[in-house]
């Protein structure tokens, strides 16, 4: 099997194909920005109208676990970026191990998030299913509705990204240094990381000094 990338029918040069594929994935990421955007908008509106309740809600989240998870995802972006560089340099074993590490870090994130969800359930902070918080407030419930909507949708994205990375780790893409598949998966991975970077302060860091 050749390690060269095949040129698609609609392209005249590999570089043109590479740029078109990158542009295509960025257009997908733009739709994702506008997919997550309204959830952030809902959050901003909720916080403008119900600031005290949002602070109250935020204090029910686990600052330590949230911060650890942020570090886990940031580290996974490092291993992802290094995996792509390793594959480009034909360091196939390195690339595979780094991809495996990336998937493990992503899975660790989901496991920690799952532990947080479990705790939220025990505390009765799940709107619609089990909301028995000691401070019954529509604002706190709205906060937790957004918390589950935003982190839930993010977790689904990460779940898909882990699947793609695992596929890349065992497939032949690491053997094709000029293939765009791995860099495109990387773009998606980093995007999911960036979404979390914005979610983290909004959900975990409200007036923690109180």
């Amino acid at each position: 099997m050749s390690s060269a990338v095949e040129l698609g029918e609609s392209y005249v040069a590999i570089e043109q194909q590479r740029q078109a594929q990158r542009a295509g994935l960025w257009v997908f990421l733009a739709t994702e920005v506008l997919f997550f955007g309204p959830l952030f908008l809902a959050y901003v509106q909720g916080r403008l109208y119900q600031h005290a309740a949002f602070v109250q809600g935020s204090h029910h989240t686990d600052l330590l676990l949230g911060s650890i998870n942020t570090a886990v995802l940031l580290t996974s972006s490092l291993t992802m970026a290094l995996a792509i560089e390793a594959a480009k340099a034909s360091m196939i074993r390195h690339a595979r191990w780094l991809l495996l590490g990336t998937a493990i870090l992503g899975t660790a994130f989901l496991a920690i998030k799952g532990a947080e969800y479990h705790h939220d359930w025990e505390e009765g902070l799940v709107p619609g299913l089990r909301f028995t918080s000691a401070e019954p407030s529509a604002g706190v419930e709205l906060f937790f509705w957004l918390y589950f909507a935003m982190t839930g949708v993010h977790a689904i994205h990460l779940f898909i990204a882990i699947g793609l990375v695992l596929w890349a780790a065992i497939s032949r893409v690491t053997r094709k240094p000029t293939s765009m598949r791995l860099p495109l998966i990387g773009l998606y991975w980093h995007f999911v990381d960036i979404i979390w970077v914005f979610l983290y302060p909004l959900l975990y860091l409200l007036e923690r000094y109180r």
Partner: protein
């Protein structure tokens, strides 16, 4: 054994990301008024920029992704601006669900 290309610079970016995380988490424990929000937002933007520029080749690559991202963020800004008009005039017409 040769090192992975970019190893040193990528680890530098990662350390900067962790330092920013420490800054945003640490500052949230100190009452700084409106600066708490400002620091959190600035740190988020800085972290996103580091990841986008160094890990996603947003700056060094061809211009098309930058155009696409600018349009997406621009449209999001329009969405935020128009939707916030309700809050901006809410002193004139208080929304039924507002507790202000």
């Amino acid at each position: 054994m040769t090192a992975i290309p970019q190893l040193r610079s990528f680890i530098g970016v990662w350390l900067a990301l962790l330092a920013l995380l420490a800054l945003t988490a640490g500052s949230s424990l100190i009452p700084l008024g409106a600066w708490n929000n400002a620091i959190n937002l600035a740190v988020s933007v800085a972290k996103a920029a580091l990841v986008a520029i160094f890990f996603m080749d947003l700056w060094s690559g061809e211009p098309m992704p930058r155009v696409v991202l600018t349009v997406a963020i621009g449209m999001l800004a329009v969405l935020f601006a128009l939707s916030s008009s309700d809050f901006l005039v809410s002193k004139l017409a208080v929304a039924p669900w507002s507790n202000r």
